[in-house]
């Protein structure tokens, strides 16, 4: 303890002088503002640093490494699993102010940006050039690029466009000891050595800290078409989604909502479904040719009708499409109305196992006596499971329900987390999915990059 106090004092002494008082902060108020994220856990760091460039990050990590002080990187603090919580205190590296887009190269289909750039800002900037950065987590309006790379954020467009991992070509990263490591390159193909970029994407800030991110871009699709269908059976939406995929159609989004979810949204008032609707499916197609898009839309509509769709709506212009998305957007706020707290998990199962998973969740719901609301990305098998909790006493039961849901998901060939990451929230469940030898391998990799364990400790592994 004595040793750590002196090392903190030491660190303050060194860093405050080089960084200045506006970038090296230790007042309680700003420390508190770097203590939480959307997981609602809060742990105070000892210091907060707002780095301005890579050199600042190197200095901080070098100094912390020498003194064995923990470092937790932080983007917008919008993560759901506690990735940005400084559980062992130490120093938080807040990247909010490293928010420049460095380059958009149309001819290479590449963008280079600092980690603090807000995802939607990058998206809008490349869209101005007719380009497209597809990863689109629900938090894209405020999440930082660095954070989404560290968590390998997913989003609605997984089936057609993949996830963040598929759009990161290269990284400039700073290792725990303060040395810079450059991975990948600007070229679209590269098989030179091990793929460290892929290792770092989704590493939740435990292996290295990113300071520059090279993203792959696509041409921006010029036409988008949205469909919304409701079904009388709880599997209706999922079955329709399965047939859509089996028919060799490739929508950019296939969003599923179950009955509870529909009722919640209905009460909320932003969208209306027939009372007998038990599930719904939102389909979004995109492309460069309107005619073929309409052709595909008709196929989707036929499939929905064959699956017994109660209602079917189609929208092309932005405003009408927005209207159809209103239901999807209303889920999160309407759930908060339903009960005070929710345990929100994001399991992912093979596409074909989705209906089975939903039925198993219903079974667990009956057994545990807690309402569970499901919605998710039917295209990629990612189900957002929300166990609704009204009173604190129900929390242990909710955690129990979650554990059983995880076990079922893994048994069906799926995973604990499709896009939120493990962080703090799911660390204790990791062994459900990851075997002993695999865990050992992961720990060895961690030790290789961060031998003293100062980078985002307490995450992923218990």
């Amino acid at each position: 303890m004595m040793k750590s106090m002196t090392s903190l004092r030491d660190l303050r002494h060194i860093l405050r002088d080089v960084l200045g008082e506006d970038r090296f902060v230790e007042n309680l108020e700003e420390r508190l503002c770097a203590s939480y994220d959307a997981s609602r856990v809060s742990v105070l760091p000892d210091f907060v640093v707002y780095p301005r460039d890579t050199e600042d990050v190197c200095r901080v990590l070098g100094a912390c490494h020498e003194r064995n002080v923990c470092v937790t990187p932080r983007g917008a603090g919008s993560g759901l699993t506690g990735g940005a919580i400084p559980v062992r205190h130490g120093l938080v590296l807040d990247f909010s102010k490293m928010d420049r887009i460095l380059e958009i190269a149309s001819s290479d289909l590449v963008a280079v940006a600092q980690p603090g750039v807000v995802v939607s800002h990058l998206q809008r900037a490349v869209e101005k050039e007719g380009l497209f950065y597809p990863p689109d987590p629900a938090s894209s309006e405020f999440a930082s690029l660095g954070g989404t790379v560290a968590e390998c954020a997913g989003g609605l467009r997984g089936l057609k466009y993949g996830v963040t991992r598929d759009y990161i070509l290269g990284l400039e990263a700073v290792l725990a000891d303060g040395n810079i490591l450059r991975t990948g390159c600007r070229a679209l193909k590269s098989v030179t050595g091990y793929d460290l970029t892929r290792l770092f994407v989704g590493s939740e800030g435990t292996l290295a800290v990113f300071t520059e991110i090279t993203c792959k871009l696509l041409p921006l699709p010029s036409c988008i078409l949205t469909l919304l269908a409701s079904f009388p059976a709880i599997e209706g939406g999922l079955d329709a989604a399965s047939v859509v995929v089996a028919s060799r159609l490739l929508p950019r989004a296939l969003e599923y909502m179950d009955e509870r979810c529909i009722r919640c949204v209905d009460d909320y008032g932003d969208a209306h479904f027939p009372p007998e609707a038990k599930s719904c499916l939102l389909v979004e197609l995109d492309g460069f040719d309107e005619e073929s898009l309409v052709r595909d839309a008709k196929k989707v509509e036929r499939i929905c009708r064959d699956q017994g769709a109660l209602t079917l709506e189609r929208a092309v212009d932005t405003k009408a499409r927005d209207g159809l998305w209103a239901a999807r957007r209303a889920i999160s706020p309407s759930l908060y109305r339903m009960s005070a707290k929710k345990v929100n998990e994001d399991i992912c199962v093979p596409r074909s196992k989705m209906s089975k998973m939903i039925r198993e969740i219903q079974q667990i719901e009956r057994e545990m006596g807690l309402p569970i609301v499901n919605f998710g990305h039917a295209g990629d098998g990612n189900i957002h499971v929300n166990v609704m909790v009204d009173k604190e006493e129900e929390m242990p039961r909710a955690r129990d329900a979650v554990k059983r849901i995880f076990q079922r998901a893994v048994a069906l060939g799926g995973t604990l987390s499709g896009e939120h990451g493990i962080g703090l929230a799911k660390a204790s469940f990791l062994s459900i999915e990851v075997g002993e030898r695999e865990l050992e391998t992961m720990k060895n990799i961690k030790a290789l990059f961060d031998p003293t364990g100062i980078l985002n400790p307490g995450k992923i592994f218990v």
């Binding site: 508190l32 309006e141 706020p333």
Partner: protein
Amino acid sequence: MTESLPEISFPLVEALDRCARCGQCRSLCPVFERNLNESDVARGRISLLQAFLEGQSISEDKLGELFYSCIKCYRCEANCPSHVEYGPIISSMGFLFGLKGSWVRLVSWMLRWILPRRRLYDGILCLARWSQIMLPSQRGMSMRHLPISLFHRKAMPALAKVPALRRAPESEGRGGVLLFTGCLGNYVYPQTVRSTESILRSAGFRVEIPRQQLCCGMPLKAIGDKTGARRLAERNADLFESMRPDWIVSPCPTCAGHLKRGYVELIGDRAMPWMDHVKDMSELLVQESDLLDREAKALSGTLKPRVVYHDPCHLLWVLRVREEPRRLLQEVSVLLETEQGPRCCGMGGIFSALHPLLASQIGSQRANDLLSANPEEVVTGCPGCMLQLQERILASGHSIPVLHTSEVIARHLDRQKR
């Protein structure tokens, strides 16, 4: 919790607990967009206030400072996925930690003295008008500096020769529409009051502009002075209770929003009876009159100006009025929208005085948004936005006029009559 906390009637602890820490407010806050400080968004403030109430040693001065650095556009509240009631939270923050420094005390003392005394208020503004006339017009269109450099030497429109209330017709009794002028409407833009009145009359409403009305109290609330604000609210409540208007309309959505949603924070249940009766003029015209149908027929073949509409934050996010002004403006103009969607103009009342540079930056950005739509006129529904946008547009070297929605519609109705 410290012992000296004044009583807050609002269930503050529960309200703070609703925040899910999702971070959505980071994408909505005009102040955060500039300075990127977490403590400037609702999530940061809520966390700090919560920590303070839990007994952590958060500096009260810092909490006071954060109250003043909020521009109070309420955009985060209107768009919060967890429905956190940020409005009452930020007010509570002001009541608890505002009003500490000597200068705010002085301002509050002055406002408490002047605002409830109409003749004194008139007199002071008359003096200000004369001193304003002495100064040369700086940027054309009668924008001048006020002698007091409160607004960071920001140019101001000429104060009205005769305040709107002084010209108000005698009251005809209870009911009808009570037109609440607001201070800017009364002293700076009386034409907005006149045009609102004439439109409502053409639409068949009986309009009352009672001279006993006082400042809504927002300026006092905005510096954290609950007592001062409550006194004004009570006097206005007396007036509303005796007049029993069917509707309360103000050309200033900040006043209207405060009457509708903010008075509860000051006078509790007493504000309930008229909450639903406060409407924007555009709502009343679209929902409660057939003016639009009548006009739509008469409009064919007229030459319409190209106008771009700026959503005032308090109209959009507090009164939640978006479509109605557009419906009206579409009839009388070629209506343009900004590519960027609604964004704050950076006025924020007292905010411009405390953070003049930030306010100007936010304002210039908004002025640019509006000018890039290439309009002949900028139209908005708020005198505060008018003041800020006109100043920023002139400062950027353009001479596009900024008008109130009611002015554009009244001008059109006038032409029809002729």
